[in-house]
Symmetry: C2
Subunit: 173 residues, 2 copies
DNA sequence: CGCAATCAAGTTGTGCACAACTAAATGGCG
DNA sequence: CGCCATTTAGTTGTGCACAACTTGATTGCG
């Protein structure tokens, strides 16, 4: 997995003309950075438009998707599903609760835990959300196969990146 | 481009058992949503770790990449390159200026425009940034071919999504 | 010319992401 | 039992994204 060959036939071994190669890498990095960043925000923008009529933001929609699929869920579990910590979830859930879509209640079995469940209104929203995914898929202009490929690639990417982040990113291969 | 067939052999024509299909789509949407959202944040996390020693955030790095490649650039142009508006760029540039990395000056030719250029210190930072892309690429665990494929897919995605966002996302195909 | 439309940057307000921290409950161990 | 490490939510502070708005400069047209 390590030791791959790269653009100029270069390997992760110490190259001879590192400076010139580095400059080229900087250009490539700019491109991939931009692509990913732009795609992420473009996706966000389409979801924003589609979710507007539901009164949900994109992260709020993700939370509701989990609740619709699994029902009553502790904040901790929500965080694991979504890879979000309480610093993000607490205020988000507070807003969902203020909107009357979810109910939060401290567990009696373990009073550290807070259990979140959709309210009746929150459950009813699912019916209106059902047509969202089709519209998003249409907006991507990708075939189902391409969507699947993209997802596979993204999941591999996430796993690798998370591992790298945990173990530290080496300066040289 | 429109009118694609989907999972159950369904087309964008009015389907017969829309409800059951919709429920399945909701599950798929949860998956692709999560994948993209997670990948985006995982990428961000790795950049955060690598850029920490440069004292840059990820968006600040993107700005510096543009400035290193093109030199003196008006805020407007920066925004076009990065697809960011002044509401994001103004405070970001203010922080970069406070850090001594860029200089901002109102153009004398057109006093609406503000021109940004790297300071000497900002230019010097490029040397230290040169090794960043290699480390990121290593962290992805992807081959150069896969990186290229990913970029192609992401660019197509962004174009399609931006078009859909501009033209409005249809409820039914 | 004079004025309305346009344009660039900046400001304000809302929401998300995340690091660092606090507070309270729990569980294990001497 | 009593104490401490761990766990779970929540809070605080910083920075980004974006919509809506303000301000001031420029442009174009009657």
């Amino acid at each position: 997995m390590a030791r791959q060959s790269y653009p100029g036939g270069m390997t992760t071994e110490v190259p001879q003309d590192a400076a010139a190669q580095d400059a080229e890498w900087l250009r490539l990095d700019r491109q991939i950075c931009f692509s990913l960043h732009a795609a992420s925000r473009a996706f966000n923008g389409v979801y924003r438009a589609v979710l507007e009529e539901l009164g949900l933001t994109y992260p709020q929609y993700l939370v509701m998707l989990v609740l619709w699929e699994h029902g009553e869920t502790p904040v901790k579990k929500l965080g694991e599903h979504l890879r979000l910590d309480s610093g993000t979830l607490s205020p988000l859930l507070k807003r969902l609760e203020a909107a009357g879509l979810v109910h939060r209640e401290r567990s009696t079995r373990d009073e550290r835990s807070v259990v979140v469940r959709p309210t009746e209104q929150g459950g009813a929203l699912r019916a209106r959300a059902l047509r969202v995914p089709r519209r998003i898929a249409a907006a991507t202009g990708l075939t189902p196969e391409e969507i699947r490929d993209l997802r596979t690639l993204l999941d591999r990417l996430t796993t690798a990146l998370d591992t790298a982040a945990r173990e530290g990113v080496p300066d040289r291969g």
